[in-house]
Subunit: 531 residues, 2 copies
Amino acid sequence: MNGSTTNTCKVLINGAWSDSAGSKCFQATNPASGEPLPDSFPVSPWEEVEQAVEAAADASQQMRGWPGERFARFLETYADRIDARSDELVERAHQETALPASPRLKDVELPRTTNQLRQAAVAARDGSWAMSTIDTAANIRSMYAPIGPVAVVGPNNFPFAFNSIAGGDFAAAAAAGNPVIAKGHSSHPGTTRLFAEEAHLAAQQTEMPAGFVQLIFRTNHTDGAKLVSHPLLGATGYTGSRRAGLVLKEAADRAGKPIYLELSSINPVFILPGTLQERLDALADEFTASCLMGTGQFCTNPGVVVLQAGDAADRFVEAVASRFNEASIGTMLGEGVLSNFGEGIGTLRAAGADLLTGGQPGGGTGYSHRNSLLRVDGDRFLANREKLQTEAFGNGALFVVAANADQMVEIAESLEGNLTGTIYSDSTGADDELYDQIAPALRQHVGRLLNDKMPTGVAVSPAMNHGGPFPATGHPAFTSVGIPASLHRFAMLACYDNVRSHRLPAALGDKNPTGTTWRQIDGVWTQENAG
Amino acid sequence: MNGSTTNTCKVLINGAWSDSAGSKCFQATNPASGEPLPDSFPVSPWEEVEQAVEAAADASQQMRGWPGERFARFLETYADRIDARSDELVERAHQETALPASPRLKDVELPRTTNQLRQAAVAARDGSWAMSTIDTAANIRSMYAPIGPVAVVGPNNFPFAFNSIAGGDFAAAAAAGNPVIAKGHSSHPGTTRLFAEEAHLAAQQTEMPAGFVQLIFRTNHTDGAKLVSHPLLGATGYTGSRRAGLVLKEAADRAGKPIYLELSSINPVFILPGTLQERLDALADEFTASCLMGTGQFCTNPGVVVLQAGDAADRFVEAVASRFNEASIGTMLGEGVLSNFGEGIGTLRAAGADLLTGGQPGGGTGYSHRNSLLRVDGDRFLANREKLQTEAFGNGALFVVAANADQMVEIAESLEGNLTGTIYSDSTGADDELYDQIAPALRQHVGRLLNDKMPTGVAVSPAMNHGGPFPATGHPAFTSVGIPASLHRFAMLACYDNVRSHRLPAALGDKNPTGTTWRQIDGVWTQENAG
């Protein structure tokens, strides 16, 4: 199998693993040892990226009008192939990310990943995601249709579930009928290559066009910007750092190409006074587990906790601090994550937050940093709100201790856009009045509002919103998790006005294309035929 | 009634007509005479815009959680008030735009406008637009919710139906539960003021917050960019020139604020050989009527016609040219439109198109330009495709005569994003093979694909897409016409995860909030209760 041998500089372009035209290669690092891993991977020059875009555009043309069934078959075949190679995937991802092989990689993230692919297959086959809308009187019909080649740029922290060639964006883009150009994350190229090998074989097995799934491992920043703004590109899905994401956003925006970004989020958690009285120790346990899970490297990691000043708040802070001191220290995903985390803590301290514990690198295996907690009062937070909302991505959090209930509300109003916002309140109703003031304020600044539950879990539910106002994402009306909603990012609205009936796509014909597809016909959602 | 008297420099800010703080005023011009109209209107300085944004943000906070019924009542009251003042509106709009009082303004555009407001009211009351999605097992629930203050910047060519304080964007933003800051178009400020007076009174009558509807007439460009990127703003709806729109887009994009733009479109019409044989004269009539309607000042005006070279094509071109010569010459909306049209024709000629007829200003009343036609062959079009897709907004069109059928397909593939694309084919099936090649290519570049019908009509249908790929609009997944779909532009996705049932918005509770709202519950679209 080409590409699976070590020390090659091959990329997957236009249906074949071929030598990269680039002269530069890079290696991944084992975060647990700090040592480079043996395989090397190419940095693709522009002409290679351009080839990929052109091949994807060809694939797009070939697939025009294909039924969802074709994409479903690919997705299912691919999911089966991943399952068959799961041991190798888990081992490689563990080497490249230092995430625990079990339960995290093997028992949680890999099943989630194949589950996403299979859910996407169901959505593609069913076709309800297209929201076909039929006005029989006017003979105007519209639906969501494939947008064209999609570039997917994946993050470092989910080598499987958000992998650029296997994760949620990939599944959504493919299920919506688009070819994908995956740009792998440099921290886990070996894992990404294994996926790409299986994606390629699954595509061959299900007779997809050559340019349907492609992989490049790395480009320079200029070429990344050229890719997302390429005239032949449909859209981009990006998950990663705010800095790199904003560069791509600017390029894509200028070209009028949709780009869906997941950038940063501090996921504020408001713990109201009553609930702190009611179950302080349980909350300290729950928060500690959520904040340190995966060494805090989750986009929904609770990075800010807002409390009302008082004895209970002080005791809660102490209880969490002692748990942070006792907890084991995980290995971070890489040297960059470690140094960024340190910088983030430095920014918070410079902005007036006091360090309660941690604050130094080391203490664990390989790239590690002590579990860290900071504290700032509400006045200072509000006075320096921008800096104090810096995301410190890792095993740490900031307590914001508000002077009183009104200030908690003011803090909720002052927040930037976040993926999540959480409120814990007591069971007797003592917190209800304050909840009713905080919740509407918080609501407007977050994609997902939670009660009594840490935000770290992101269920793959049709009702999930893994999104939120800028700078959490680039557009507050879209979610990157949850099927079928996540497919809409990679679609355009396609209207047919007075088009003769035999020329309509099956989804818009009078006859229900599957017998079970939900369509909106003359204002009524139905699985029946039209007319 | 404040604000209705002449020669005042008043703006509608925070629930009152007050003197503008600005020192500059402007007057509208009667396009039929070239003479200024008597009233003067203010150019608002930044502090006034800022006041409007803050008042709108206050309104947004006050309206959090309000049922759609509240917005429906406002919209219906407003529509009734507009009807009651229709004579004055028609007269003023006729003076300011030179569009015929009847049938255009009185019998077509005004009824369309109040119809849009009333349809938006129905959508707001019904609540199905929010696409409430409930996962009962996981207790995760999501819906589209108001995005916050919306700035609406309206165009010159529809003083009613796209008016910034009465048109489609206004109706959609208000129905979705948002306050609107309208920025009137400088060519019809008097019309806009009349609407604003009625909107203000309707808002008072239905007890909306002070900052719910506001109007400023003009700002400088810098302040326009500041408005669309303001931290308190939710989103912007813009319809107008590509140049001005791109400046706003850049500012809004940088701030991560959604901006929905309708920028430019040449609306290509492909007339296949068989249909030209079948009914050349009828097609020439149909095209001429569509292209010259409203002096060609429609965003869906057919600006490019693609034909296959041959005798029939030549005869069609001649037939249209003679009709253009015979047709009366309309008055354009203003001096700027006239000069831009002349420039557009100049650009097309410089790029290699030959002038067949027209090409000179004058010939009609006031600001006018001779009905104009140009012609270019397919080779030249493809060689200079960017320049030859310049929009010449007005009473003119470009014929592109392709060497053969393959070149027609190639032309379809080469098009920029457009609102519409049209294909005429014959009734016997002779054109079907060519249709099947052109349609998929054209489909990808247009929001609405038509058969056998000119694109000028834009029905307010739930299945309408008045949108399309850039540069026709800023995002190909949204429509600015069609209710309820147009409301989604002014919404964010709001998810509730594990939120206690008594705290959920009515739309997400187990009980159907109206008894008839469509919601997606555990994958099934239903009007029933959940669980």
